[in-house]
């Protein structure tokens, strides 16, 4: 259980401290270095000596060629830790210039290659994670809050509230969500500021997926409210609010946690999909979706395999979340049985 959780937490820490770990500015361009393949780390130099500190060679364009590079073995650039680089903000609060690693200029280290403007993919993936994961997490929060609220009302008060909420929930469940997202997105302005777009994405994604948590919460509330201690509490004159808070809602926490672990990757993927289709955040801001959108160009898809790196990161994240969800589910079952 804890291995998966710690792994996931580490991944998130990497994304939160993107500014520190990324060696370059995500929007800093090197127009003369488009589509550089990932820089190779060397340990053994030309004379055959082993170095504990890895070093790289500068990637230079091969003469008379387009987008082909070779390593110039003239000078080795050792990787340096805690170096000063472009300014960034730690968690959006303190500004700093210290980066975890980098190399001396004029060499550049591209751990995941560079894109068509010569921007460092590695830095862009880390910064893009902030947007994609942030959107996923916030949208999950919205979805769960809506689901909890509506599910509780519908389970606790029953009758017409229950009827109407559950019918709507069924509708949302069967609708093809991507069409729904696109339709909602279509009726909202197309060109707006990045922050507005982000909020819009979060709200749209979050409000489409409330149905499943709502149904689960309703089920739990329905069984919880018939428990003897709830009936007893009601007999002693407890208010609805008190019963809900003390006796009913604690039952739902487990389900909410599992749902959260399942929904976050789904919503991250939803954000990625929308950005991929060009309806999310737009360039130059990176998000995993618009990083992947580069692959819509045929030549990029065929020739530059490192442009798939964001996809790999995405898969690792969803694997992590699903593993955690699986664990939580097993834990819950072992408690209730």
């Amino acid at each position: 259980m804890w291995a998966a959780v710690i792994f996931l937490a580490l991944l998130h820490a990497v994304i939160v401290f993107a500014g520190f770990i990324a060696p370059y500015d995500p929007v800093g361009q090197n127009r003369d270095l488009p589509f550089v393949p990932p820089t190779r780390l060397h340990f053994i130099d030309a004379q055959g000596f082993f170095h504990i500190r890895p070093f790289i060679y500068q990637s230079t364009a091969r003469p008379q060629s387009l987008y082909e590079y070779e390593e110039s073995g003239v000078r080795a650039y050792p990787i340096q830790l805690f170096v000063r680089g472009p300014e960034y903000k730690i968690a959006g609060l303190f500004s700093s210039r210290i980066h975890l690693f980098s190399v001396e200029g004029p060499a550049q280290i591209f751990l995941a290659g560079s894109d068509n403007y010569g921007r460092d993919q590695f830095s862009r993936i880390l910064y893009g994670g902030r947007i994609s994961l942030g959107a996923g997490l916030l949208a999950t929060a919205i979805s769960l809050a809506l689901g909890l609220l509506l599910g509780t009302f519908s389970g606790f008060y029953g009758r017409w509230v229950d009827e109407s909420v559950m019918r709507t929930a069924e509708l949302f469940l069967v609708l093809p969500w991507l069409y729904l997202l696109l339709a909602v997105r279509a009726f909202l302005p197309l060109h707006i500021s990045p922050i507005q777009t982000f909020c819009l994405l979060v709200v749209v994604i979050g409000s489409v997926g409330w149905a499943r948590p709502a149904r689960l919460v309703r089920g739990i509330v329905l069984t919880a409210k018939t428990r003897k201690y709830v009936v007893a509490s009601r007999g002693f004159g407890a208010s609805d609010q008190h019963i809900l808070r003390r006796h009913v809602l604690p039952h739902t926490y487990g389900v909410l946690l599992t749902q959260a672990a399942l929904l976050v990757p789904q919503y991250v993927i939803a954000e990625v999909t929308l950005s991929f289709l060009g309806l999310g955040l737009s360039e130059p801001l990176p998000s995993w979706g618009n990083l992947l959108a580069n692959l819509q160009q045929y030549n990029v898809l065929v020739s530059y395999w490192w442009m798939f790196a964001p996809a790999l990161v995405l898969v690792v994240f969803s694997l992590g979340y699903l593993a955690v969800a699986d664990r939580i589910l097993k834990q819950l079952q072992s408690i209730t049985v």
Binding site: L171, L173, V174, L175, P176, W177, L178, Y179, L180, L182, A183, R185, A186, F187, P189, L190, H191, P265, I269, V272, T273, F276, L277, G278, L279, L292, L295, Q296, Y298, L301, V302, W305, F308, A311, L314, V315, S318, L319, Y321, L322, D326
Partner: protein, 301 residues
């Protein structure tokens, strides 16, 4: 439910957003707007739109300059072909395989399937589609993108068919790969549950042959949740197909909807969403009919 859907998705006040080229003079814009009736108040436009739906036109596309329904029928047919093929294939794989691994649960094939599906579950469709495209482009096994090859019209009947089939492969495989894990797990789960019930034990005790036991006794008992799942999975498949269509260049509803969203061709957006909803409702209806056919308890109600 149908009525509600229509009311929900019908155009209300969304038409103020049509962005037009700044090079076009305001008079031309005004003339265009009055030509398409966009200067009318919302209720009038709504009534007009509804009458056009009843006339079978479903409004008018500004970008394509023709009625929306003429656009949609072709596109929806393509989407239907794609999702239909994918659905057929995925059920043909999932049901026998699911039954088999349920029968041999905890065998190595079972464990292998569970492992593979849990990995596949966390690979999004987008990544599957892109990866597959990459493979296809690299190896030249299958054509990538589009629906037919260049020079399709010159081909004979059989080579036409095989050409279309080849083009179908990439999107269909993507859809199958992304919807198989969930389905397989459900089939397995419901079969395992049924196989542990007393009546199956009794049948087994009476020496009923294995194949007869599995397909004649257990499968009908396990079918109920699976058929409901079919209804739900249609929506998922449609969503998936939208993305896959865009990535692989399959001319279905997906690219049309995306284009229309980008260019604010709102009647087309509404039409595409409604026809996808229609496809989905038909899927659900089919599931209900099958449920009635398969489950005597439902028939009793």
């Amino acid at each position: 439910m149908l009525c509600f859907l229509f009311a929900d998705l019908a155009p209300g006040s969304f038409f103020d957003e049509i962005t037009l080229n700044p090079q076009i003079s305001p008079e031309t814009v005004a003339a265009l707007r009055s030509h398409y009736g966009l200067d009318q108040p919302t209720p009038v436009r709504y009534v007009r739109w509804v009458t056009s739906v009843f006339k079978g036109e479903w409004g008018y596309s500004f970008a394509y300059n023709r009625s929306v329904s003429s656009l949609l029928t072709v596109r929806a047919g393509n989407t239907l072909l794609l999702t239909g093929m994918a659905t057929l294939l995925v059920w043909l794989i999932a049901v026998p395989l699911g039954i088999w691994i349920a029968d041999h649960s905890d065998g190595w094939v079972d464990r292998l399937c569970m492992r593979t599906t849990s990995v596949l579950l966390s690979v999004p469709e987008l990544v599957v589609a892109l990866g597959l495209l990459y493979l296809v482009v690299r190896t030249h096994v299958l054509p990538a993108g589009g629906m037919v090859s260049l020079g399709f019209d010159q081909l004979g009947r059989w080579s036409k068919l095989s050409d279309s089939m080849m083009h179908l492969m990439v999107p269909v495989i993507t859809l199958v790969l992304s919807s198989l894990p969930i389905l397989l797990r459900h089939v397995r789960a419901s079969m395992v549950e049924v196989l542990n019930t007393p009546f199956i034990h009794a049948a087994r005790g009476h020496g009923v042959a294995r194949a007869r036991l599995l397909f004649y006794y257990a499968l009908p008992a396990a079918a109920n949740p699976l058929i409901s799942l079919f209804g739900f999975s249609v929506g998922g498949l449609l969503s998936g197909s939208l993305l896959v269509e865009v990535v692989t260049g399959w001319p279905g509803l997906g690219p049309l909807l995306l284009e229309a969203t980008m260019s604010r061709d709102l009647y087309v957006v509404v039409g595409a969403v409604m026809s996808s909803t229609l496809l989905m409702i038909v899927g659900n209806l089919l599931a209900d009919v099958m449920l009635v056919a398969a489950d005597p308890r439902v028939r009793m109600q």
